[in-house]
């Protein structure tokens, strides 16, 4: 077993208790002014503690562990100059460096939507600067053989999850259906609400769908033996590190995603390699698995999955597209948001939760059978993935909200600027189904893109 | 003065300060428009001690003062709404039958007219005008109506309004209504703001009366003086200060002789006064300092300070007291009586006085109320006029038995709005007054080490709500402007003033409230409405920058350009 993903450095922790306060599942405990600890059995690895922690390796105090040693312990590059904080996550960047240096390894990388609106910040750009082109260019420059995109898989998720929702509604399946993109949320249901597991969509998260495809469809396209493929995911999330290591995530016959690094780790790598990120010319993501729509892109913000699903599901259900694609009623920052969509005689009720601490009352409602909605989106982090535990850490607390809002705005402006904004209209998705998967919820799709939560639970 | 003369026959304080020392349970002090502890501290102490002994205290003031802290009832009225408040008090007194029926029948006239007016002022209606809750008006009326004795004290808070005379008459009506006249511990007592206002009036320094309030328009009076002075006395009533300024504008007044005054600081709408005095052909100023007024004079005569000359002052309670020479005047300065007599002589009129006593002697022969007062008597005692004969003990209480004019007259007055009220452009109300450490235009007190030390610069009082709305914090430099000018000062954020009201003084030449005040006058006395005008307030800068470094308020001097700030718009004359 690898080292725990989220830990608190006992030497650096001042016991201020801010992580304890922010932890949505009460996994952190400690007395004031004494170092705190994470209970890994409760922790859902959202990394909000990492984001808020301000106990750093002050030069005004003496620590038994040297900085060099500490960087090594944390799996960080030795050239990292930024201050180190008590609450931190396990770094995995050294394995990426090693893989990139292996000549016979075919490296494929995918990037989550929220990465492209945040990584620029690590290079001095304003909050939420949209840099998909530079991101792709940087990844190419680092030597990845294929630079694919999680957004593509997000579109695919909509195809599968949309189809599943329609299926559940039409065939009186278990409702409301819960989204399953957020690994912290899935872990939370497994850990603390396993009686509600059948509400979870059976879809894998976009990261895992992408991973499976890279080592099957992708490898086939490039004529590569999947055994030689090393698949890396760049994520705004710390829990994705856990997700990729789940034992069942091997539909491709291999571990679907080999390694997850965070936005911050990627930025550190780019600096380590001496790449001047800000002056990189824009480059596109590689085809076909880097092609995405606006719907896939907004997965990074709370309400984004819901909006993307509605854009497609409503059209699939009724045959007519929604009159407008700006579904303002599912956007927002409140902890719990509810909306009813009436379109061509179809009425869909949805609920969106941003921040896991708000989900309790909604789950109680479901448990009591009083939930009158069809679809529930839950994201662990306060604004969705843009505020994830692996995102660039904001220095001044007074700027937190501004930063999150900026990133969110970046995502939506990107969506708006794209010509294709509905997942089912993604040409490469259509092609994928035609050439490889068959149809949504079909046999191949089910095998590669879905998982059985009940079974996973039993396996643990 | 005019108001009281109409109702009682004399404008002076009816009773004596010493009576405060004997007030206690059953007695009431009714203080209206007077910040007594700051402006008349010694009288203020006596009032507070009387309250401690058990006397009731009713205070009418829009501002919280030390007096309001000790009040049994504090009527926090809107500036300028005095008549409505007083009439409502009268209304409640009449409604409950607390009026002095016997006294009214015997000693007063015009009661029925007054009753008609008072009947209209229901407390709830007055509450709307004055902002004072009706219950408080009733409480005050009950105390006044049921007290054995009620002594009313007032100052400029009552008179410096366009309705000043009405205010005074409304005050007087309350005293007459409750029979609180002509006895100890009662009366209508205007407290004079300056040491010898009473004396200056008594001496006939008024355009309509000769010494002792002898009407200049009365033939027998003129004949008496003509005989004594050997010249004809002009019959036509003279001009008041505001009319003199108008006269200059019209070119009718050619020369002005200003003796020991500084209208360029004390009068409302300073910019206007300055314009007039610069225009007059001959301006003579006799003073001890080169005041703002003296600076624009054609001739300046150096007078003597109070400690450098002999004479008499008459205090607010009509008490004549000696002023004695303690030191020699500096340089070529001369006692003012000497300057005046030499000047009179230079104009070819006999005036060979060698000592003020000689002048006093001449005066008392012509002035019945002073007739019994002499330097010899003043050596060992002080005397309150009227003192008609050498063996008369003086008069501590006026109107004993009956009022001087025979019967006290009820003069009903109706509430009128102040001349200028806040509007969109000038949304706040300014009221002016004094602080304890300073006196009038500050020419004397600001030249005193300790007094300058405790109150070195103007502090404009503003309510925390208004301050918050204007982003003003305590100590910020602010600008206060009206239709007549703009001044800079320091903000004092305090609940001493109510929301919408700002308070400032006229002690500081660099930020004088009188740059802003309105020249609108009471139609009878021409007392200007210094207590109400509309202003706008804005923040200039916060004291984050070291004020000392930027030169602001350095050693009490004005920031450059403040004094010369042009009027923002023309004053309505």
């Amino acid at each position: 077993m690898k080292t725990p993903i989220i830990t608190i450095d006992q030497e650096l922790c001042t016991g201020c208790g801010r992580c304890r306060e922010i932890c949505p599942v009460g996994a952190i405990s400690g007395m004031p002014d004494t170092p705190h600890e994470v209970d890994s059995t409760r922790c859902i690895l959202c990394g909000q503690c990492v984001q808020i922690c301000s106990g750093y390796d002050s030069a005004n105090e003496t620590f038994a562990t040297s900085r060099v040693e500490r960087l090594k312990q944390r799996g960080m590059l030795p050239t990292v100059k930024e201050p180190l904080f008590a609450a931190h996550y396990r770094g995995d960047i050294n394995a990426v460096v090693a893989a990139l240096q292996q000549p016979d390894t075919f490296t494929i990388v995918q990037c989550a939507p929220a990465v492209r609106v945040a990584i620029g910040e690590e290079f001095g750009m304003p909050y939420g600067t949209l840099t998909p082109g530079k991101l792709s260019a940087a990844l190419h420059a680092l030597g990845f053989n294929r630079v694919y995109d999680t957004n593509f898989a997000a579109d695919l998720t909509i195809m599968e999850e949309g189809a599943e929702l329609i299926n559940r509604i039409k065939n009186k399946g278990r409702l409301p259906m819960f989204t399953s993109c957020c690994p912290g949320w899935v872990k939370y249901v497994e850990d603390q609400h396993d009686d509600l597991l059948d509400h979870l969509s059976s879809c894998k998260s976009p990261q895992q769908m992408a991973g499976t495809l890279f080592k099957t469809y992708g490898a086939k396209l490039d004529g590569i033996d999947p055994a030689h493929v090393f698949s890396v995911a760049v994520m705004p999330c710390t829990c994705k590190k856990f997700e990729c290591e789940r034992p069942e995530m091997n539909s491709s016959g291999y571990q679907d995603v080999d390694l997850v690094i965070t936005t911050r780790e990627l930025a550190q790598l780019i600096k380590h390699c001496g790449i001047d990120f800000t002056s990189l010319p824009d480059e596109a993501f590689d085809n076909p698995l880097g092609c995405y729509t606006g719907a896939g892109n907004i997965f990074g913000a709370t309400g984004g999955v819901m909006e993307a699903a509605l854009r497609s599901a409503c059209e699939m259900l009724t045959g007519t597209p929604l009159p407008s694609l700006e579904l303002e009623y599912v956007r927002g920052e409140e902890g719990i948001r509810r909306a009813t969509i009436c379109h061509e005689g179809v009425e869909l009720k949805v609920t969106i939760v941003a921040g896991l601490q708000y989900v309790g009352s909604v789950l109680e409602q479901v448990r009591r059978g009083e939930a009158d909605f069809h679809f529930l989106e839950v994201m662990c982090c306060p604004m969705g993935c843009v505020s994830g535990g692996g995102q660039p850490k904001i220095l001044l607390p007074a700027q937190r909200l501004e930063a999150h809002a900026g990133r969110k705005a970046g995502l939506y402006s990107h969506d708006k600027s794209l010509t294709v904004r509905k997942s089912h209209e993604n040409p490469q998705i259509k092609k994928l189904y035609e050439n490889f998967l068959g149809e949504p919820l079909g046999h191949e799709a089910h095998h590669l893109l879905h998982t059985d939560h009940q079974q996973n639970r039993r396996a643990v | 003065m005019e108001g009281l003369s109409t109702t009682l026959g004399s404008g002076a304080m009816t009773n004596s300060i010493a009576e405060l020392h004997t007030m206690g349970p059953g007695d009431t002090i009714f203080a209206i428009g007077t910040n007594t502890t700051e402006c008349h501290p010694i009288i203020g102490i006596a009032m507070i001690k009387a309250v401690k002994r058990g006397a009731k205290l009713i205070v009418v003031d829009p501002r919280a003062t030390t007096l309001t802290q000790h009040a049994d009832v504090w009527l926090r009225l809107q500036p300028g709404s005095d008549v409505a408040l007083l009439n409502a008090i009268a209304h409640v007194i009449l409604q409950n039958g607390w009026e002095a029926t016997e006294y009214i029948a015997k000693h007063t006239e015009n009661f029925s007219e007054f009753k008609k007016i008072a009947a209209r002022y229901f407390p709830y209606k007055a509450a709307e005008i004055t902002g004072v809750p009706a219950t408080l008006i009733k409480d005050a009326a009950k105390i006044i109506g049921q007290s054995r004795n009620v002594a009313i004290y007032y100052t400029m808070g009552v008179t410096q309004h366009t309705s000043g005379v009405d205010n005074v008459m409304a005050v007087s009506n309350i005293a007459v209504l409750t029979g609180n006249i002509g006895r100890a511990k009662t009366g209508v007592n205007p407290l004079r703001g300056q040491n010898n206002v009473q004396g200056a009036c008594d001496m006939g320094a008024l355009p309509d009366v000769l010494p002792g309030y002898q009407k200049v328009q009365k033939t027998d009076v003129r004949e008496k003086f003509a005989k004594a002075w050997g010249v004809e006395i002009p019959e036509e009533q003279g001009l008041t200060v505001p009319s003199v300024l108008d006269g200059i504008e019209k070119g009718e007044v050619k020369a002005v002789y200003i003796f020991g005054e500084n209208p360029l600081r004390s009068d409302p709408d300073i910019n206007h006064v300055k314009h007039c005095l610069e225009k007059v052909e001959l301006l003579i100023v006799q003073d001890i300092f080169l005041t703002e007024t003296a600076q624009i004079a054609d001739v300046v005569l150096p007078g003597a300070a109070f400690a450098e000359k002999d004479g008499t002052f008459t205090s607010t309670e009509r008490r004549v007291q000696r002023v004695r020479k303690a030191i020699e005047p500096p340089g070529q300065c001369k006692p003012d009586w000497q300057i005046l007599s030499e000047l009179i002589a230079a104009m070819g009129y006999p005036a060979a006085y060698s000592h003020p006593q000689e002048i006093f002697e001449e005066m008392r022969q012509l002035t019945p109320s002073y007739n019994g007062i002499s330097y010899a008597r003043l050596e060992n005692e002080s005397l309150q006029w009227p003192c008609p004969t050498n063996d008369h003990p003086g008069t501590p209480i006026l109107h004993v038995g009956s009022s001087i004019r025979g019967k006290a007259r009820f003069v009903p007055a109706d509430f009128r709005l102040p001349a200028e009220l806040p509007d969109k452009e000038y949304p706040m109300m300014l009221t002016t007054g004094r602080v304890v450490a300073h006196y009038h235009t500050g020419t004397m007190t600001r030249r005193c080490w300790g007094l300058r030390g405790v109150a070195p610069y103007e502090m404009v009082e503003i309510h925390p709500e208004d301050a918050a709305a204007l982003a003003i914090e305590d100590g910020d430099q602010i600008s206060v402007s009206s239709r007549r000018g703009e001044v800079l000062a320091v903000a004092k954020v305090t609940t001493r003033v109510s929301p919408g009201l700002v308070f400032m003084t006229f002690h500081y030449s660099e930020s004088s409230g009188n740059m802003l005040t309105n020249t609108a006058c009471d139609p009878t006395t021409q007392t200007p409405e210094l207590k109400v005008c509309a202003v706008a307030v804005r923040k200039v800068k916060s004291p984050g920058v070291h004020l000392a470094d930027t030169g602001f308020l350095q050693q009490n001097t004005a920031p450059e350009g403040v004094f010369h700030q042009p009027a923002l718009s023309n004053a309505p004359h």
């Binding site: - | 700051e38 102490i45 507070i48 030390t66 070195p456």
Partner: protein, 191 residues
């Protein structure tokens, strides 16, 4: 115990004579002379003229003085029966200002003969620097050295009182005696 001067809010009219008396007593010169020299004015007593209350406030000479205990340079000490400041030691750090619960300690300008610090103008060069006046701590010293407190003597309203340790002791002793008598009144109820 330390003596102290205390104001009576029921009597004070806020005339500020105590402030001037205090300032003058510590300059030891007639005010006319101070006026001529333009001596800065510093009073150790302050009249609070608030809407709710008018009273003079000054140092209570606390037995466990927060000001003295907060001072990083030991410039505030107990001397005989009062809390005294040693101006020469003060660095103007304002700790005492924060510590005093009465707002009775001030940092004032003082012309002392010792090394000064300089003020740099906003955008000026090093040449434009000017010497900064010294600022040192100042508070009531009960007019130690000039007899009885000047503020108490001058107050026209007799609103200031010098409370001496013996007087306090006497006063509380009297209260005890009175209350002992009161207990006797209801003694039977206790039986």
């Amino acid at each position: 115990m330390n003596a102290f001067v205390i104001g009576d809010a029921e009597l004070c009219i806020g005339c500020q004579a105590c402030m001037v008396a205090c300032a003058q007593a510590h300059e030891k010169m007639p005010t006319a002379a101070l006026n001529e020299r333009e001596t800065p004015f510093h009073s150790r007593i302050t009249v609070v003229n608030a809407p709710e209350v008018t009273v003079a406030v000054q140092c209570r000479h606390c037995e466990d003085s927060p000001c003295a205990r907060s001072c990083p340079v030991e410039a505030i000490v107990q001397k005989n029966a009062h809390i005294e400041v040693i101006k020469e030691k003060c660095i103007g750090c304002k700790s005492c200002v924060l510590a005093c619960p009465f707002g009775a300690i001030k940092i004032i300008e003082d012309d002392m003969n010792c090394a000064a610090i300089f003020i740099s103008p906003h955008d000026g060069t090093a040449h434009d620097r000017i010497e900064k006046a010294h600022f040192v701590v100042e508070k009531c010293d009960l007019c130690a050295g000039c007899g009885s407190p000047a503020c108490v003597a001058i107050c026209p309203a007799k609103a200031l009182q010098l409370v001496e340790p013996d007087a306090i002791a006497q006063k509380i002793e009297n209260r005890r005696i009175k209350n002992a008598n009161r207990i006797r009144l209801y003694r039977s109820q206790l039986a």
